[in-house]
């Protein structure tokens, strides 16, 4: 039986809020753990081959990896790397996105046409390929990944900022500001930027998720964060040869990665719903 669309089920609403709170708590926990990582009793890099591939025990709560390092310690430190790179890429993408987006949206004319043409070309590449191209150009390592992942996200940010600028610019208060002789730079900072905070926050949340995912994917492929720096993708790559012998090396960091991504995507969705009531389903 096909039932017509009914109103929002209250039960669903409560579940939704609980999931949002749980997502937030999970992310806070991961960040706190990453910050407090040096308090852990084990070293994330020091090898101890006599302890290699041990299953979870009381001493090593998640067991050890293929080189005898405590897996929990590696995962916690890995959070520092992955989330650090993702946040760095957000800074790069936001800065460049605001710069080019405001110039395109506010400047208009030929500048706008050129910037948007470049943006459209870049947007026609899959994200992984853009990131690969950047890594091929500037090389591997933490700082380079921040730049590579940040730059692959710039076109999306430029388009978002430009769209918002065009929408804000049409308002009468901006026209009024222009009429009393406000300089364009002042209008951009005082009237336009505050209106960008909401959409940018949503986009940034999704970029953190995409950044964590791309960082771990590139590291898994062996062209991201070079060893021995702990990173979720490279821990997974280390465990792939021991799938039958020590599946915990693959399972544990993957589950952490999965739930962090899930939490980030859910929070991004909720943030978007909260900021844009029209998009609510």
């Amino acid at each position: 039986m096909i039932r017509p669309r009914s109103g929002v089920v209250p039960r669903l609403h409560t579940t939704r809020n609980a999931v949002t709170v749980a997502s937030g708590l999970l992310l806070v926990a991961v960040v706190v753990a990453a910050v407090a990582a040096p308090a852990l009793p084990f070293d994330p890099v020091q090898l101890d081959l006599s302890q290699a591939l041990r299953p979870p025990t009381v001493a090593h709560l998640l067991g050890t990896d293929e080189l005898g390092r405590d897996l929990l310690t590696r995962i916690v430190y890995g959070g520092r790397t992955s989330i650090g790179i993702a946040l760095g890429s957000v800074v790069v993408a936001t800065a460049a996105g605001i710069l080019f987006g405001v110039v395109a949206g506010y400047g208009g004319g030929r500048v706008d046409a050129v910037i948007m043409q470049v943006v459209n070309v870049a947007l026609s590449f899959p994200a992984v390929l853009l990131a690969l191209l950047m890594v091929a150009l500037i090389g591997q390592g933490v700082a380079n990944l921040m730049v590579a992942i940040g730059i692959q996200a710039v076109p999306g940010f430029v388009r978002l900022v430009r769209g918002s600028v065009l929408a804000v610019r049409a308002h009468e208060y901006v026209e009024a500001a222009r009429a009393i002789g406000c300089a364009p730079s002042r209008i951009a900072v005082i009237y336009i930027l505050p209106n960008l905070v909401g959409p940018l926050a949503v986009q940034a949340t999704f970029l953190v998720a995409a950044g964590v995912q791309l960082t771990s994917a590139l590291s898994f492929l062996g062209i991201g964060v070079p060893p021995p720096t702990p990173e979720w993708g490279s821990i997974l790559a280390g465990g792939r040869n021991y799938l039958s012998l020590a599946p915990h090396i693959t399972l544990a960091p993957g589950l952490v990665l999965l739930f962090v991504l899930l939490a980030l995507n859910l929070l991004g969705d909720r943030l978007r719903d909260a900021l844009d009531p029209r998009a609510r389903i």
Partner: protein, 306 residues
Amino acid sequence: MTTYILRRLALSAPVLVGITLVIFCAIRLLPGDPAIVMAGDLASGEYVDQLRHSMGLDKPVWIQYAIYLGNVAHGNLGRSTKSLRPVLAEIRDRYPYTIQLTVAGMLVAAVLGISTGAVSAARRDSVFDYGSMVVALFGVSVPIFWLGLILILLFSVNLRLLPAGGSGSLAHLVLPALTLGASAAGILARMTRESLLEVLGSDFVRTARAKGLRDTTVLLRHALPTAFVPVLTTLGLQFGSLLGGAVITESVFGWPGMGRLIVDAIAARDYPLVQGALMVFATSFALINVAVDVLYVLIDPRIRLP
């Protein structure tokens, strides 16, 4: 229709030119002499000189770009610095595998995603609906390489049902295709459900039901085709991410496609190969976008050709 296809192809020309420009500039932004970079560390001075001359590095930049465009147009993408074979030959060996994997992933995504979404919408608020939407949410977020490893652990290591890697038979394709298609299936399931629910609430569906048609008829003949247009849009958009995802999937399963080729080339700093492979990848992507646009016109009668 032919005019439309031709015009749409012409519109993607700037994108293709942009791609060549980006890749042309990219290799020149690299630190050091492009000839040495292109030739690789182990090349002889003679080879570097020869390469410098053939690349026309003594000429102005815009002439260099014109020469480069000419070479690309003639299918001359240079030689791999690692295998010394022509880049085009390397790509020709690998390209069919990537297409095979991407199409298989697409099929998995379309079949799994659309059927799940349709059943979810028809049985709204049921256990199946909630259950499958939670699974779909996980499908959207799961890192593709981890899903691949888990499937290997389950079906190859524990159950010994399917091969863990390699290529050659249909059995080899099952796990990579599932891995690649999972996230697109999740997105499509959510999209189909949403779109179908909207259609099911509309007047013409009520009319169809009021005149006594069976639920299945209303769903399959009236609602589903209408709900299909946004789903198709999503499907088209997903093709690009599938092509990108193939890069990762191929590495997990040792699938001998373009993705593995690019990753190995980056690791080996084999720049001619990276350039050529990215170029072919990007061009395929641009052409797929054209194909999707043409498909819209064929499927949605509301889109009129001017």
